[in-house]
Symmetry: C2
Subunit: 412 residues, 2 copies
DNA sequence: CAGATTAGTTCCGTACCATACATAATTATT
DNA sequence: AATAATTATGTATGGTACGGAACTAATCTG
């Protein structure tokens, strides 16, 4: 409800061009007359708009519609040129790097993933990123890049593109990433927390989006939530809404450990990767499963992944451990439910690999709750969730700034 | 971003009229030239828009600007006719009824409050409501009513104006209220839960509204929350977001009572009015304060209010009791903080009467939290919070439907 | 009282859209 | 095969809203 002003009649044309384009983007191709009928304008108004759009390269007049069985002069087909521009989605983590390029319809035209060695330096990350992006763009063909969205762990301020805190890759703190990518990419760059971007990727794509509400729970070594309400990401007053690692739900003093080991919050401490490993080894010790114990021991830093793999195999100690933390995690979900009442809760992050058995455990622990519980899912995209969310964010941004009504409004 | 279509040049005029009106509403009166400069249109365009608006009765050409010290022809002043229409705000509770009428600028021009006897019947409520509205409207003078918003306890579906569940006044269940008011009021009627309406009243009135986030915690016999995020009320997937009475934070089994007495949720059971009375009598028993005990006893159904009054007087047992529940309540706030990170938390409902001492207790219990905590306030409007929120909602609705850009768009 | 200054009004050209009519290309009918 | 019907496109005309320039109106200043 910004105070738009219709200064001059070209405003009208822009409104109509936006409407025509929006309608056309929903279809592979349409005739001018069909567009006019669908959009509610006269044919000639649509033609004018289409000419302007063709000038911009956003649409293309195709061949005649010879396939139609109907009588009469065949229609001139018009097509949205999805290849007129491309968007980039990037996911950065200490383990790997994922890059994808999509056209303006969201179709992924090229993607690549690169694994890092242990503890890559910031410079290595940036250089690998640049070369990977270059290769991916080359694979996508000669394209103009319109927007790039990048997800990283840690605390990010998307307004100025600055990484505030990133313990797993401290070298990326600040505007390093933005500065070194700005020139090579030559398009607006959006930086945000990976969980928040991934959450946007889980939104409903259809018309009901504005009504949608969902919470994505990243569950791994640490725990964090991305929150989408009324169809848009909610950030919170100081940009850390969804910091549920700091939920303090278990005051019964189950463990005598220090309050916040390694900077973990109370909830993470009771359901995160470290606790899962602890629970699993304890369970294995009770059951006398020396084979499993030594396997976890051998995994060293990757003990958590070893437990997850064992869970997939059905190893009893791992199953028992994950059931223990699932009970605690369910309590977190019930709290989120009471406050937010979301339609959907998606489990993402490493724990998503546990799949349906994990969901079953969570549902079991939630069964006694008095309120109706949200739909529970495991992220279908797994490791690609962040890249996917980043691509969708880029497309949203394009839609808002280039295809939307709010293109050249004069504000009062 | 609805697919608006500019069909015909009159669309342009409507957009411009809306812009002119929006600008004018921010000022007591303005000259045409000043408006043109402020809005970015030519003088003629503004004049045309003003003529149309004057036709509708929304503005008025006033006297010349004789106060101006500047040289030249004095300007013709234009004024927004706030008295062109009025809106109604109503609050219904089992104890009382509050009605207020405001003009289109939100200035309250008449209001009235009526106390009920114990347990009024639905018919009594409706009849009292009708006569009170009639008196209030009469006091406001000859006015046309544009919109009415009504807040009631219980579960309300605002989309269809139906009260789903209202244990304190079961006779109002269903569409009774809507049906009996529709004809006499002769304007759109909006029904919603009282806490949700009151919450909207606490939103920032300024331009930052779209960024604002706040939680209003109704704290009385029962506990519920209203949530405003990104400047708009958040309802949740099944319309019961903020049902924090059902938070289950205290699993240490402090009390051996049955799980959900009187339909109360676990959190309400540990911080609500009944528990406060229990704590207060227990404390008085320990301290041997027989005078206080008998005062509470004598209050009968109003024991909770007696304890609140005692707290205001500084009676030790009441202070002690409220400190106990404040500790528990603070835990609820910290959970809300971790998930939502709101800018502001407002305490409303009966407990708001405890004022600053209560806030001090809550802040004390929150001091140890690792995350920065939101601003804590007590509702300044107290019992008028719901009427105020209802008025604001009515005005918002008017702004959206009559003053906004989205007036007569053709949708595709 | 003349000139300066600011405000409001009138006229005209431009741009947009809608309606109506003419033309083009195809299918169905005779 | 010629003609009618159908559908899509292209072109002319009229109405309306905007902006700019020129003009009129009302006040102040010297």
């Amino acid at each position: 409800m910004e105070p738009l002003v219709a200064a001059g009649t070209q405003f009208m044309r822009e409104v109509n061009a936006a409407a025509v384009l929006t309608r056309l983007r929903a279809e592979p191709s349409m005739s001018v007359s069909a567009l006019a009928k669908a959009v509610g304008l006269s044919r000639q108004a649509v033609t004018r708009a289409l000419n302007a759009l063709a000038e911009e390269g956003l649409i293309e007049f195709g061949s005649l519609d010879r396939d139609s069985t109907r009588a009469g002069r065949p229609a001139q087909l018009v097509r949205f040129r999805a290849e007129a521009g491309h968007v980039l989605g990037v996911s950065i983590s200490p383990q790997d790097l994922r890059v994808a390029v999509a056209d303006l319809c969201g179709t992924v035209v090229a993607s690549e993933a690169v694994q890092f060695g242990a503890h890559p330096s910031a410079d290595e990350v940036v250089r690998t990123l640049l070369s990977t992006i270059e290769r991916t763009l080359a694979a996508a063909g000669r394209t103009s890049l319109w927007f790039a969205s990048i997800g990283t762990p840690g605390i990010v301020d998307p307004a100025c593109g600055v990484i505030k805190l990133i313990p797993s890759m401290p070298g990326l703190t600040g505007d390093v990433l933005l500065n070194r990518l700005k020139e090579p990419l030559g398009c607006p760059i959006y930086l945000d927390n990976d969980v928040k971007l991934a959450t946007q990727g889980e939104r409903r794509p259809d018309a009901e989006r504005r009504e949608d509400s969902l919470v994505m729970l990243h569950w791994g070594e640490r725990v964090g939530a991305g929150i989408v309400l009324n169809g848009e990401l909610y950030r919170g007053a100081s940009n850390d809404a969804g910091d549920i690692g700091f939920l303090d739900l278990f005051e019964d003093g189950g463990s005598p450990r220090s309050r916040h080991p390694h900077g973990l919050g109370p909830f993470e401490d009771r359901v995160g990767g470290e606790e899962i490993v602890r629970q699993a080894t304890a369970a294995a010790g009770r059951a006398g499963d020396g084979e499993f114990l030594s396997r976890v021991e051998a995994a060293g830093e990757r003990a958590f992944e070893a437990v997850l793999a064992a869970f997939a195999d059905g190893t009893p100690a791992a199953v028992e451990a994950i059931d223990v933390v699932a009970r605690r995690f369910a309590k977190g979900i019930s709290v989120i439910r009471a406050i937010l009442n979301p339609r959907l809760v998606v489990i993402g992050g490493p724990m998503a690999r546990c799949g349906e058995p994990l969901l079953a455990a969570l549902r079991r622990h939630l069964a006694g709750e008095p309120l109706d519980q949200p739909v529970l899912e495991v992220s279908a995209l797994q490791q690609d969730a962040v890249v996917h969310g980043a691509l969708l964010h880029s497309l949203d941004e394009i839609e808002r700034t280039r295809f939307g009504l709010v293109r050249t409004p004069l504000s009062s």
